[in-house]
């Protein structure tokens, strides 16, 4: 039996976005945004439980989040949420066989049918929509929009 333990790069291999194009960056962003959103979700459940301490406890918690830092963190959360949603829909469609091309004979230069322009557009759309949502969120939180 061959020893293939050297192929296990662990976290270093997972977070290295180089060499494989935008799809690999989307893979990394999907995991980072997923972890970030899970941490936020747990924190959100905890912070909303402060309402059980009455008006004083709630106002104290709200005051600690309604700061410039708090708004920026929430804007990043909004960006992660939008990217994770749009890219997640793209991934689900891909797993369902939508937009991955049809099987063909492998001819040189062996361009993979699944890594086509449709999915690249999906990834770039997710990034652009996340940026727009972040800007909108910042405008709302800083009172520019009602």
């Amino acid at each position: 039996m061959t020893n293939n333990s050297e192929n296990k790069k662990g976290i270093g291999g997972m977070i290295d976005p180089r060499r494989y194009g935008i799809e690999r960056i989307a893979y990394l962003l999907m995991r980072l945004s997923g972890l970030g959103l899970l941490v936020y979700f747990i924190a959100h459940i905890y912070e909303t439980s402060k309402i059980l301490q009455g008006q004083f406890g709630w106002n104290e918690m709200i005051a600690s989040t309604q700061t410039t830092h708090g708004h920026i963190i929430l804007a990043i959360i909004i960006g992660m949420c939008v990217f994770h949603t749009v890219n997640g829909i793209r991934v689900m469609l891909g797993h369902g066989g939508v937009g991955v091309g049809t099987p063909t004979r492998p001819d040189y230069p062996y361009s993979p049918a699944s890594q086509n322009i449709k999915h690249k557009i999906g990834i770039y759309s997710a990034i652009i929509l996340a940026a727009i949502a972040m800007m909108y969120g910042l405008a709302v939180m800083f009172g520019e929009l009602k």
């Binding site: 296990k8 997972m14 997923g34 899970l38 439980s49 309402i51 059980l52 689900m92 009172g143």
Partner: protein, 112 residues
């Protein structure tokens, strides 16, 4: 449970939560953002039974989706029979804990 079923649950909870989370966020925009977070407004949200029910469904859906996602990431990093069991059970216990804690808040506020 088969991995294919776990992934179907993962995708199903994701799709179901998209619409509900959109409603949850839009509730903050029905009035001024800061005003919507005032104590009286938030309490009123919890007293409104359909909204409280929606919060409970979001809590369950996102807890399941989040911890299945965490499990997927951790199993991509390392494999092994015992490791996979530890990760699976840990994620399940954490998910139940989070749902219980969130449900406690919703019920206690809703019951006054």
């Amino acid at each position: 449970m088969r991995e294919s079923i776990i992934m179907k649950i993962h995708y199903g909870t994701a799709l179901a939560s998209i619409g509900l989370v959109a409603v949850h966020i839009l509730m903050r925009l029905t009035q001024d953002y800061a005003e919507s977070l005032e104590y009286a407004n938030v309490i009123r949200n919890y007293y409104f039974l359909p909204y409280a029910g929606m919060l409970e469904i979001i809590l369950i859906l996102l807890s399941i989706h989040g911890f299945i996602g965490l499990r997927v990431i951790l199993l991509e990093l390392k494999q092994g029979r015992i490791y996979e069991k530890v990760i699976s059970y840990s994620c399940f216990i954490a998910m139940i804990g989070l749902i219980t804690y969130g449900t406690r808040t919703i019920i206690m506020v809703n019951m006054g």
